[in-house]
Each structure stands twice: as structure tokens, then as C-alpha cells.
Amino acid sequence: MKTRPGQSTKGVSSPSKSYASNQEIRWCPGCGDYSILKQVQSVLADENIPKEEIVFISGIGCSSRFPYYLDTFGMHSIHGRAPAIASGLRAIRKDLNIWVVTGDGDGLSIGGNHLIHLLRRNFNMNVLLFNNEIYGLTKGQYSPTSPLGTVNKTAVWGTIDLPFNPLKLALGADATFIARGLDIDPLLLRQVLKRANQHNGTSLVEIYQNCNVFNDGAFSVLTDKATKKDNTIVLEHQKPLFFGVNNDMGIILDGFSPRIVKLSEVSENDLWIHDEEDSLKATILTRFFDNPENDGFPRPLGVLYAVNRPTYEDQLRGQKKMAIEQLGQGNPYELFKGKNYWEVK
């Protein structure tokens, strides 16, 4: 595995709490953000990334307070623009370890344009999209991921906006890494974050995050002990897709159509084998739950898709190198003079 920008090769271990800033955390008690913060701190420590090489950039919203709580470099910027700020930073700083923290409103509504352009350009950074299907900081309006028919302050008669499916959108923008985690599953979240950090390119991690004040229980079917095994599926590269409370359910691909089967009815060899590098399979995985015909399909968690494509900054550096070789980098006086100058004596 390649050494990642910002990843120390010295093997100096830092306990995760040393990444915590002195700021008092101001999220609501019980918010899913606390767990995400803890897992991020833990991954930074596990990966031995020196604090001074880390930059967290966020926009506006509950999630965007994140940088204040880490003792790294950070910027809490303006609504939706963190991906663009981080792109400008990455364009001139290949050496840093850059994270963007955003939410479903910040990243998919006001900042949706920047997110898709970041993904297609493939700047190396990690984007954490906290999806709680609600606007929390402004106290409970529907967001671009709120399910149809959601009733709240700005959707008194129920929402009629078809929600975004963030990972499907990301694939549409040719993302090179998409994954999904849950705030309350620390082990899985750490694994996913680690993978995201190791990916050279833009890594988009959608994290289902419970807003216990304005949208409590939005993901309970995926997180409650009684229901989660039947409703989620944890993906592992080159492993078959099976799930269920007794691990007795599987998924097969019938042409391009996924079908749920009982393991008792098929051989394990016939099951869909997860392949992170297969974009077609990834597309089908992202659509498991947005097609009414696919009702009853489990929600895929873990790494859905991960491929390598040259990063924007590497290509940019290549062009700069070429320009320097061809044109030099000395005093630009001759450039300024051009061919058509004259002298007044």
C-alpha cells in the first residue's frame, strides 16, 4: 500500500484524545455526531497522522462544527463551499491530509454543485457526509434526503421532493470511492474511515447520523438490534452477499436484477460476490432502496466502490512540471517583454 499524504512513516503513535481540541463540544446530548468525532479521532491516531499535517474543512450546519473539536488545522467556512475551499487548498498542497465535513443540507443542497465537481475531478481528500435527513441547526426543516411524505415545519402537508440518493449521485459524478457507515456502529465506521483515508482520490463516506432532537429514529430500522440484521448488509470485497438475523439470506444477480434468496435454496457459490471495482454492481448496490420494486432489500454498508483514477493534483503537478521544463521559472522579464518591444533612448 502506498504511503498516503499526511501519513507518518515514523510509526509514532498518538492516542486519539491528543487530537481533541480544548473547545467545549456543543452538539445536543445524544447526538450521533459525538460517536463520529470519536471514531475520526481514533482513526487519525491509528494512522499516525501528525496533527500539523491534518486539515478539516467544513461548511455550515451541525456537522460543520466538527473542525473546532479537533486539535488540527481547520476551517469552519460558509454554507456548502467546503469542497471548493478544500480543492483550492489541495491544488497547491499535495502534502496535507485533508478532510471535508458536510451534511445532507450543506453538501447536497446549497453545496451540491461543488460536491459533484469535486468527485469528478478526484482531488485526494476524504468527504464525510453526515446524513440525518433533516436540517438540524435551523431546527427541523426537510432536507434533500428526507423521504417523500416527510412531515415537518416546512412540509406541513408532507414533502413532495424526491430525495437524493447520495451514493447514487456520487457514482453519477464518477466518484472513485463511495462507502456508507452508521454513527452507532463504531467498528464498521472506523474500518470505512480508514479505507477512505487510504484511498488516493476523493473518498465519499455517507454516515447515517441520528438527529435525536428533530428526526429521532430516522435510521432505527437499520440500527435497532431487533431489525438491523434483516435490513442491512455489510459488504466485504470478494465475499458473497448474505445477511439476515440468522445469516440465512443472500442476494443473487439475475441478469442486472438483484434478487433476495434463502441460503437454504441456493448454493453459496451462486451468490453475488462483492467486487469493489465493478461500477455496474456498485450502481445496483446504490439502488437497493430507492426502487419500490426493491422493497425489502437490505441497506448496503461498508465500501461499495473503490477504484483508482489519477487525482487532479497529480495531473496538475504533471502539467506544471512540463511547463517548468519547457518555459523555465526564472525572472519573467523576457516573458513580459515579448517579441514586439521597442526602446526609447
Binding site: 497547491i92 496535507l96 454543485n113 461543488h114
Partner: protein, 618 residues
Amino acid sequence: MSINTSELRENIVIKFAGDSGDGMQLTGSQFTETAAKYGNDLATFPDFPAEIRAPQGTLYGVSGFQLHFGSTRVHTPGDEYDVLVAMNAAALKTNIKNLKPGGTLIINIDGFDDKFLRLAKYDKLDNPIEDEKLLSNYTIHKIAITQLTRKALEDSGLGIKEIDRSKNMFALGYVYWLFNRKTDFTENYLEEKFSKKPKIFEANIKVLRTGYNYGITVEAASSTTEVQAAALDKGIYRNIRGNEALAYGIIALAYKTGLDVLYAGYPITPATDILHELAKHKNYITTFQAEDEIAAVTAAIGASFGGGLGVTASSGPGIALKTEAIGLAVALEMPLVIINVQRAGPSTGMPTKTEQSDLLQAYYGRNGETPLPVLACNSPADSFDIIYEAGKIAIEHMTPVMVLSDGYLGNGSSPWSIQDPDLLPEIDIPFANQDHIKDGKFMPYLRDERLSRPWAVPGKKGFEHRIGGLSKENETGDVSYDPENNQLMVELREQKVENIAEFIPEIKIKAGVEKGDILVLGWGSTYGALMSAVTDCHDQGLKIGFAHLRYLRPFPGNLEKVLSQYQNILIPELNNGQLIKIIREKFNVDAIGMNKVQGLPFTKNEIINKIQDILKSE
């Protein structure tokens, strides 16, 4: 027989006018480069429609290039033309009113058939080139340019469309002859431009020479005209367009500071030429074409956060989109250079036409109390100095800086005394150091005597910190909602910008008297017209002075004193009265406004008439 007499003239204004597909911009800029090569002082005014290929022959499709060149100092592209080249009826109709009585009118008679007359809304029985009364005012050169071009290229193997496209070279060659100038420079240019299209190259050269030789052969004029080199200060010169000068200034900033400069932009008229130029020079800077205006400015902010210098440019509507992010840069106290190549507004307005109507936007166009320095270029060549000074202020005072240019300066050109970048003023970069650590903690908002804060760049161990748009505690930069602290920070940022007045030059009287009846006070692209007008009035004995602001926020420290030396203050602006509002508010001076919002620059005579009106009414 060749003509051997030559009439000596101090300066000449030529207007090339034709269809927007006729290549008038190329013709004009080639004549300009040749004039520069001959050592003339000059000023240009390209004036073209927003449509790329407006329908042929129409009045709104006329594209023009105006050039004023001379052996004496030239400050404006000129009010009226000595020579008008009209490639068709529409070009004649839209420009004839500005041709001086007795001026030279070169007409392509092939552009005056029934179709062209109809498109130009002339009655076909009323063909202007047969109007003896009209023509008697001018020296007329009627030439069948289209036919002669076709004849010259009949064996070229090119199609009629391609052939007709080179008729501008005929006009150019002919005008070269008229002004006794060689075609060398243009021939070299064509060779380079069409190096991969030898047929087109040969056709253009042939037509260029045909036009030149046509002048010799038909003895079209009793004498040619000679304009000698101008007596400019010593130095190496080139002709430069304003947008090009801005690009070069940005390169100079990168070279002098050694900082990674990120220029992030989004295509918009008339600012895009800066990105066109910079995209060639990735050896000096990094360019980034962002997905929108907001991404362009925020990417620039990201670069500045990373210890580079972020630069972005746009024009009016694009600047409006950037305003929230500019406010963030003010709150962060981050170096950033924002260029506004202004155009006629409001909204989309007239994208290719000039105006100075974004001064108040630059001053006040953000939420909250968000002061930032504002500078304005006064000529295409001055754009280089202004952008360099803006970068210096942005870095040394840790603040976003707004630079105002406009379409007239950006597209226009003037001679530039090329500066050796090694001799430009040094720029001190206020990187953070151990002095900014208190009790083991880095203080991102610990201020120096300028009230400026230290710049701590990611990667620097022990200087980890978080900044953002939320109100920050002075010194620590921690989020703070403390009422007293917020007031303090607002006042500190305001004072920080005001303090810059101590670092900028005083304003000087550029023409006329230092105490008298009228001070003409300008800013930005009106410099040339105001300078010429005041010089003329002063020569006529009026007690008049001229001062021009390059620094609009803060104002030079001596401005109030200068204003107090005159009975009247006249502030001409290409807007509805913006600088005048600020001057009135700040100095309580009852200045007189003069305003024009037609997408066109002031003419010298408009200014002179206004000055005379003021003195008459006294």
C-alpha cells in the same frame, strides 16, 4: 509613379469598422502593434457586440476598433476619427457621426449593395456613398475591397467564404500604405498564426500586399501621412492590454514572493482574458477553472489558507456571487486578491461595454461590517502596478483586496514601460513565529502594530488552529459570542484597513494648478479623458487641477487637504454617482457630479463642456 510627399501629423485617430465576422479586432490590433513598433504613444478602444457572430450587415453587428497614436503623449482613444474605414453600410451608419470634417473615409463599396443598405436601414435610393453632399465633407477613398480581394485570390483554390474572410487584410494593407508603414510586423504575425495552414497564410499575405500596392498604384492620395515616434521616458516598451497587464502582475507576485499563487476563475466577459493569459504560464502559477464563481473565490481562499496566494477575477454579476465568500475572507483576515473587470449593468447589462458602477459594491456589497481595501487601475499599463500593489497589501496586511478595472481598460491597450520584476518592491510575508505563542498556544489573532495577524500555514507543528466565519475572540481566535469582543473585532478590522493609508502614496495633482477654481477628481479608466480635458482647459488659462485616485479605500492621507484647495470639486464617473457619495459622506464636501452610463467612455469634449458650464454658472 510613387508618392514621395508625406504630411507630418502629431497624432491620428483611426476607426476600423465592419461586421463582427470581418476581423476588425485583428486589423485594429495589428495596426496598433505596428504603431507601437514605430514608437508611437497610443491608446485603443475595441468596441464589439456581445454576439460572437452577429447577423451579417446589421447595425447591432458592427464591430469596431479605435486607435489613437501619436508622437506626443496620448491619453485617450480620441473623441473623433481622422480616418474611418467602413467595410459596409452599417459600419458607415454607426460611425460617420464621429468622423472629423475633412477626415479620410475609406469605404468598401461592395458593402453597399441593396442587401447591405437594407440591413443598415438605408433607403436603397438613398445610398450614402452616392450622397455628394455627405461625401463632400470628407476625403473619400472608394474601393471595391471585396471584389479586389476575390480577384487577387481567384487562383488560390480557396472557397469564396475563406477568400472573403481575408478582405480585412486588404484594408489593413491599404492603411499601412496611407501611413507609410511597412507590412513586416503583420507578415511575421501571419506566418506564426498560420504556420500550419500555408494556404491561408499565403492568401492573407497576398491580400495584405495587394491592399498596400493598390494605394501605390492608383495614387489614391496626394500624400501619405507620417506620425513620428513619441518622446516617452527612457526604457523598454511594449504595447499591453489591461487584462494582460493584470495577468503579468499576478505572475510578478508569484515570482517575487515565491508563494504558490492559485488563480481561480470562471468564464465571464470581460474578465476571462486574464485566465486565458495565465493558463499559458503554469510554470509560474497554478490556474483553476472552477465550476462557478463561488467555487472560484472559495478555492482561492483555500489556497491562501494553505500558505499560497489566492487570486480570483470576475465581472459585476460574478462578483455579486462571490460576495459571501469575500465576507468570509474579511472575517478570517486572509490574503486574497479579487479583480472586478467591470462592465455595464445592472444584471447581465451590456457585457462587452464598459462602466464604473461597481464601486459601491466593492465598498459595501457584503453582509455585516466587512471593510476591505479597494484599488483601481487608471490605464491598461497601470493594471500591472495596481495588481502588484494589491497583492502586497493583501499579504502584508492579511486582508482581501479588491481591484477595479473595467472593460475599457481590460480590452484596451497602451504602451507599458516594462519593469524588471527583480526591481519591484519587496513583499514581507507575515508568517507566524514563536512570538505568536502564548502559554504554549498559538494565537492566530495576535495583532502587530498594523493590527495585522500572523499567517500560520498547515504543516507547521505547534501552530494548529481553527478559524471560521463565526465571531472570534481577539488573539485566541476561539469562537466567541461576547458582545464587547465582537464590537472590538469589528473596530479592529476597520482600523486595520484605515491604517493602510500610512503605507500608500499621497495623491498628487497630475495636471493644472494646485489651488484654484475647479478640481477634477476621477478614478479608474476615466484617467485619459480627464487628463486631456484638464490639460486643455489649463492651457486655455483656467484655474483648474486634476487628481486621480488609484487607492479608493482607504483614501490617500492628504486627499482632504487637496480637496480644500479648490472652490469646486467635479467628479466625473461612468456610473450614476458613486465616488461622489463616498466623498460627500467622508469629507462633507458638496462636490458636483458628472455621470454617464451608456457603456461608453467619456470623451474629452464632454468633460470640457461640463467644466465650462460650471464656470459659466458661477
